[in-house]
Amino acid sequence: MGKRTCLYDMHVQYKAKIVDFAGFDMPIQYEGIMDEHAATRNAIGLFDVSHMGKFVLKGEDAKICINHMVTNDLTTLENGQAMYAPMCYEDGGTVDDILVYQHEPDDLLLVVNAGNKDKDYKWIESHLLPGVDLKDITDELCQLAVQGPKSVEFIMTLTDALLDTVKYYHFMDQVVLADVPMLISRTGYTGEDGFELYFDKKYAQTIWTLLLDKGASYGIKPCGLGARDTLRFEAGMPLYGNELSETINPLEAGLGYFVKLNGDDFIGKSSLEQYKNQPKRKLVGFELMEKGIARHGTDVLSSEGDVIGTVTTGYISPTLGKSIGLALIPYAYDKDSMVVQIRKNRIEAKIINKRFLKQ
């Protein structure tokens, strides 16, 4: 038996299929990935993401401290704002990709991948500045994602807080929703508008049930990790372990926007500067020209038949109905198409823009 989030009993009650994810018994789906995916694109999806690691970083130099560990430039971060940032090793390989929430410059919340939590904690702890305190509060909080085009309208029926004024990647703390105080951020991992809610786990079941009951008229559905992955993939968002890893740096993953080489020094900066001058690999989107699914780990071949790379994620896109994927291939590869080897079949894969929903 794995670890369980504060909502495990609810997942069982809502007939989830449970799988192991990062040591947690998590719902992969309830009624079905396709329906859950569609609910999030068209109405509202509710996700238990309490397994995500959550650290509090406090102390006068907290912001300076974490800014030195991530590739994005946190100096522009304001109170009430959150920022996405890759965190790298000296060689540029990725430790994790994280969210940094700023209450005050000396009081930050870090949200990290569940599977990387222990590694991240040790990494950050080993680079702390004097007077900065790191605390793992994962087990104290429930974290829900409410995602989809009707999320804002729906959540605003449950609170007096003016959540529609909260801009993308900003948050409001001490929002009272159904008598429960919570931090609500305009963030998510689906490519849709919506919120993430952080609150004391003792209210987990109450809030979960309330959202599903009150949201029924908006078409809300509980969604599992299956739909979470197809949604983030369609939106072109990276998943650590697929598009990012200890051996895939954020520039290769196409995350140059979040790597600020002009700003202050950070761990991995000189390696990434070097890499930028001599890039070796790039992440591309592709669409299969025949039926099939090129999944994570599938070999990518040049049109001449040489293995040149690997698929990082691939699905039949529930929204587009096409078989598409992301692949890491040589930077110099300049043809319009490549080939994927699926079992005994070689299938042509046309290279397309990896912002799949925007074309």
Binding site: I33, M34, G226, T230, K291, Y315, R343
Partner: protein, 127 residues
């Protein structure tokens, strides 16, 4: 979970229906339920022969690919090509939609498979 009487069942959750010297093979309700939304199927070639336990088709759900095994040695004489465009039919009607029609099998080999009651007990033991 639906189980149909009169069919043979394998531990890998395939069913075989015998009509004369032909067999229809498909996947069970338990299998489709476990897989979730089925989005792609790779069918065998017609006239292709397989030994017992050979992988003869691949059924893919949103999340994963599952190999489908032929529980008995046989030759494929027809495939249900409708599934290429509508793989979701395996979710909707797993016992109506066969994957392939087979011939040239040994009747003795069928006796190694389970009947509906034994298969039901087997599925319950997996819960």
């Amino acid at each position: 979970m639906k189980i149909v009487k009169g069919l043979y069942y394998s531990k890998d959750h395939e069913w075989i229906k015998i009509e004369g010297d032909r067999g229809f093979i498909g996947i069970t309700d338990y299998a489709q339920e476990a897989m979730g939304d089925i989005v792609f199927i790779e069918l065998p070639d017609v006239d292709e022969s397989f030994a017992a336990e050979d992988n003869f088709a691949v059924v893919e759900s949103v999340k994963a690919a599952a190999d489908i095994y032929l529980p008995i040695g046989a030759t494929v004489i027809e495939v249900n090509s409708k599934l290429e465009d509508e793989p979701e039919l395996l979710n909707k009607a797993p016992f109506d939609e066969y994957i392939a029609i087979i011939e040239g099998f040994e009747t003795d080999e069928l006796e190694t498979l389970m009947d509906a009651d034994a298969y039901e007990a087997y599925c319950n033991s997996l819960e």
